[in-house]
Symmetry: C2
Subunit: 342 residues, 2 copies
DNA sequence: AACAAAATCGAAAACGTTTTCGTATAAATC
DNA sequence: GATTTATACGAAAACGTTTTCGATTTTGTT
């Protein structure tokens, strides 16, 4: 009934707990014979070390925490998958918490993970996060921290990102290349670095092509749970505000799909009347009609990379060998589809 | 540098560790004064109980395990969200593992969770799972186990499901109601109970409407990572095999969307030539063209319900009060959209 | 003042593991 | 045969908490 312990194995074999423990962990100072006996008995009794005791003793839990803004989300669930699959290879478990795009909640979740004493934390920031004391707390506790996608440049930790500015530039340039002259932008929330960078890439592409930058062509979406609705709303507003727009670069696929739905309803033809480029390459984008040109954002790889980096830092800290934060930039690509086919 | 312990608080106040512990946990046998002092010092020192020690002592980790076949999946990620949000309310953390639709992996993950000594496990079975010894192992260790969606009737544990047979019946009946005479079915893998039930519901609806059941109209998809491709492949095959089909009830939205994509490519009009009903109500289904009629499967609620049930059983076992397994059936609804609009 | 009852505290064991360090036995060396 | 050197084992402390139970002090009662 009760789980088997080292003590019971020791008693049955008439040896000490110490020796049993050593035998199971391949210590050199235990004879081949007793090691064999211990191993055998442990197997027949189905011995499983008590993680609680091991954790207490070793001060590590082989568990990491992951905090993300949303879960039901193609990009983020891809990242989760990447992290979990990589963590599994190294014998780590992953505790997932969501911030719901709320700073308060994010702070609470970090606290929770710290008091849970996870071995490291991976996070993508909530839109509302402007204060970083909770993250600095993690760092000052010498716990490895890796940020991805929605990062804060100011926090001194490793980061896994894409070159948002470059990707946005590419997307906008593509719209220019196919002949768009009046290009709008549905940007993300104000705070997140990546939504800023995408905006800057958009702006730079316009200027490099001698197209005027018109702030009234930039619309904001929070990109939270309501992304789709926001896309619809902005699309409608855009039509009311401007009748000459022939291209839009949109911060997120889901918003883009909302916009396309609205345009479709209002009789605006895509790509004939307006060309659209999204961002992230959600699976959905390849099956809607017209299919959506977008930037491929490698979620799965980002997850894997983030864990790999975290793992390195966990090892490094364990060996008392510091590690300077590293910024890893993954490649993206423009995926051309029907929404920009002239 | 080192985390604060009860001992340090005790030494600073010149009292015993016992009293500090009691003061922090509102034991009645500690005076108001000392409790105040302890509380205050604990706060200023930012004391956080060492979870490892607490776990070891109390034999519970306030952590549960979740095993699902896939993560990047609208339904499953909704369930994850439901479980996590409910677990949070009760102070539980969730460790997520994926089985990748593989029995071997599923077994390994369960083992992992057991050796991790989680307080309970929630699982949706892999397609390949036909042996249930790993699940019975969980039960025989008196660890609460709740299955959802893809369940095994034979395993004696609580389950959260929908009435798949009824839902499938409803879906098929709808096709009949709009005038379909020759209705195909893309079913799921052979083993999962829900794919069996959906098939049975389909079959019964045909017979109840005096339509012949033709086995050659039933196609199989594994519904794993390749769902979309499977849908395309089956659609193509169906057209080659039969030229008189005017309706299809499809096991999963993603497969249905694959099929629709293929039909679209081949010039088959939906719903004019063939009407389609999917299953699950993925968000995607509401934005593709034509929008997909489907069965709404309440993932978020399923997750919440599954955790609630698990929580009840964790409490029950703690109080040495057994609990007979409970089967909870959630409501579904047919969502009529363009793919069945005649 | 004597006693009972209540209030307050602490010693100690326990949870199960890991690891250091010492000791005893066996093997090797001269 | 005496000494060194491997080899094999175990005692014990430590990780930080919870909880039982006994001891002491204070309060209340007569």
């Amino acid at each position: 009934m009760k789980p088997v312990t080292l003590k019971e194995i020791a008693e049955q074999l008439n040896i000490s707990v110490t020796t049993v423990s050593k035998a199971l962990k391949d210590y050199p100072d235990v004879s081949k014979k007793t090691r064999g006996l211990v191993r055998e008995l442990a197997k027949t009794l189905n011995y499983k070390p008590n993680t609680f005791a091991v954790n207490l003793r070793t001060k590590e839990s082989k568990t990491i925490g992951l905090v993300i803004p949303v879960i039901v989300h193609h990009f983020f669930s891809s990242v989760i998958k990447g992290i979990i699959s990589q963590a599994e290879k190294k014998g780590y478990l992953v505790i997932i918490l969501q911030s719901n795009e709320s700073y308060e909640l994010e702070k609470k979740q970090i606290d929770l993970l710290l008091s849970q004493r996870v071995d490291g934390i991976i996070i993508s920031l909530a839109n509302g996060t402007a204060d970083f004391s909770h993250l600095n707390e993690v760092i000052s506790q010498k716990k490895p921290l890796v940020m991805f996608d929605k990062i804060a440049k100011i926090v001194k930790c490793s980061k896994v990102i894409i070159d948002d500015r470059k990707a946005a530039y590419l997307a906008t340039q593509h719209l220019v290349d196919i002949g768009c002259k009046r290009i709008a932008h549905f940007r993300g929330a104000l705070l997140p670095q990546n939504s800023i960078d995408r905006f800057l890439g958009y702006k730079k592409a316009l200027l490099d092509n001698n197209l005027p930058y018109d702030p009234s062509l930039v619309y904001i979406c929070e990109c939270g749970d309501m992304s789709f609705e926001e896309g619809k709303k902005n699309a409608k507003q855009l039509l009311e505000d401007h009748d000459d727009v022939d291209g839009i670069f949109i911060n997120t696929d889901l918003v883009a799909i909302g916009a396309m739905t609205e345009f479709n309803k209002l009789g605006v033809k895509i790509p004939e009347d307006i060309s659209i480029v999204g961002f992230s390459n959600w699976f959905m984008s390849s099956v809607i009609s017209p299919t959506l040109t977008t930037i491929d954002q490698p979620g799965f790889k980002m997850g894997k990379t983030a864990f790999k980096q975290l793992y390195k830092e966990i090892k490094a800290i364990k060996n008392n060998k510091p590690k300077t934060p590293k910024i890893i930039t993954l490649e993206t690509a423009l995926v051309k589809r029907e929404s920009t086919k002239k």
